[in-house]
Amino acid sequence: MSTASSSSVRKAGEAVPDQFPVGLRVLVVDDDPTCLMILEKMLRICRYDVTNCSRAEDALSLLRRYKNGFDIVLSDVHMPDMDGFKLLEYIGLEMDLPVIMMSVDDGKNVVMKGVTHGACDYLIKPVRIEAIKNIWQHVVRKRKNEWKDLEQSGCVDDVVDRQQKTNEDADYSSSANEGSWKNSKRRKEDVEDVEERDDSSTLKKPRVVWSVELHQQFMAAVNQLGIDKAVPKKILELMNVPGLTRENVASHLQKYRLYLRRVSGITQHQSNLNNTFMSAQDVFGSSLNGLDLRTLAAAGQLQPQSLATLQAAGFGRSTVKSSMPMPLVDQRNHIFSFENPKLRFGDEQQQHLNGSKSMNLLHGIPTTMEPKQLANLQQSAQSHGNMTMQVSAQGSQSSSQPQARAQILKESTSTSVTRLPPTSQQPILPNGTASGGYSVVSPASTMLNFPEFPGNSFPLQSTPGMSSVVPKGRFPDDVNSNINRSEGFVPNYDMFRDLHPQKPHDWDLQHVGVTFDMSQGSLNVPSSAFAHQGYAASSQQNGQNRNASTAGKAMFLLDKRSDNGNEQSISQQLDPRFVDGSVRVKAERAPDTSSQTDLFSEHFGPEDLMSAVLKQQQGSIAAAESELEWMFHHNTPV
């Protein structure tokens, strides 16, 4: 198992922009040394950057370690230590990279399996160099689809075109650390400015950019309606934004739901956290790179304490440490900006973070919180009431997967969290008692005020199940927030961990979502150093709700990247950010979550496969990213 190679990856930046796909960073996984050698040779002849592995486990750890380090993965189907399809799933969930399966087996069933598991191609061995030459198309296509998502949701459109034109070359040639993702992201940002691009890849539709404010309105509307009743038409009416069509809202709603779904699936695994972090970074990395500096600079001063906290959390490693713009500021923008910077961090820190594992950005807030922490939270939460727990109540609805979650949710039921349709895929959205949709958060507003809402904070507690499982989706937010608030726990992570017992990959994004929550929760904490302090929260929270939403959004994007594992990392990442505005963030989340719940229930009704497929196809990442992207774009850099 050689890994080799990353050298070229790292120096990708030197590549000449016009030489795409030269420098495409490929990871090859095959237990057969003969095949591996041949493939590597072919890839090198195509001038790709090759890293090879003979074990799936090694490949996964490489991918996790170098989040943005690869553009595409080639994997054999039959491997001794792990089934190729399983690896495919993990990659799809955690990193969302295009994966090409290979096998000497050309039976229809096997090929079908590849398709259903999300492989973007299936090559029959012996693989010919012609087939290898064209693998770059999958990378481009994936990016394009993500952009498309953005477009379809009414956001920036034609990013794809622009991106492809400008980025193709640059993408691959950009520094390895950036990863192709980053490039695309960056491009997306650029593209956002270009509203008038031809939309060759998607249908022509009026361009709607979902700015933070718009999203806030959207979330407010959804929250008001309640997750269960949030239908595009009504949301549109409530939002009352001239020029906005029902379609715009519908697609945005869908993305949101996906996001929530992802969020709820956040796993609590440390590694996930790390990964998430990294992935978040990846996601944002590219785009953020540019913004990072700005944001950081701007945010830098935001809350030294939060920063400190974060640093304490160990996040400090990342460069962000100092710059962590923990935007305690109410502005949503800040939140985003934080996220970005953070994300960026991720890139740099990735390895770093990985080590730290708990991206405990939020130190106080166990962003990375491993489940145990959550458990703690939960316990406390229970006493508090079920704000978050409500989520669990909702959870019951969900399908088996979210069972863990659901249970938690159910138990917490105290508040109206009903939301979380715990279908496996659904993120645990604490419908929140009050707000109804947003899991925990809904009472979130109440919750936010920990002091007022004792129950809120740890709805988790109420549900035993919850204890460690933090509803991934929205739930985490709530939970976290609550938890954090009230007790300063931040065990959110723990909860998540448990939540995800089964399908980590279902929630790849969930992870992000979770993080979000956590961050929120933790965010609150940060203010007081994760302590229950800061909560002054209630008021803050309300205000912060806005932020939360934003943060949530960011999370959303992050989700894409993160996988279960990621979730954690992301959360961690976000946490620092949110720490400042955490309160805010959370508040927002609540409503979102609730709405999300609805979304999820609707969407997740179907089998996991569906969701998985949906997830994949809809590019949850894309959605998340796009969200972040657009949010980011629209937010004034801090």
């Binding site: 040394p33 003969t34 041949i38 040779k41 039959h78 061995k125 160099i129």
Partner: protein
Amino acid sequence: MEVGLMQRQWVEYTKSLFLEDFLDSQFIELQKLQDEGNPDFIAEVVSLFFEDSERLLNDLTAALAQPDVDFQKIDGHVHQLKGSSSSIGAQRVKNVCITMRSFCEEQNIEGCLRCLQQLKQEICLVKNKLENLFRMEQQIVAAGGSIPTTELIF
């Protein structure tokens, strides 16, 4: 022996290998991958294959010698052998693998044992053939000539 003659002999020999199915078009693909910068590429890959296949053959022999034959495990080994042999273009070896896999499916020990025997034979044969080929190539190069490019015309 003069270079031209050696080259012609090499061409004839190569052709026969293809005609007799010892090698297939994949081998030509491999040859395309070899260049001045990497003149020993094929030799390396091929020796890697033989090492690996030896290991697999041992595993297969051991597995088939068990009182309770684990056909799934055997299938796994054969599958891998099929993959690597097809990667270097060892067609006959690959064909035996295909046959052996269906015996595995039928849980036919006899069939599997026969195939195993055949595998050993074929691998040995193609190994010798390739060794001859490489030796001829070395001689050509040593004599200052270059190895003709193989084109599968037939």
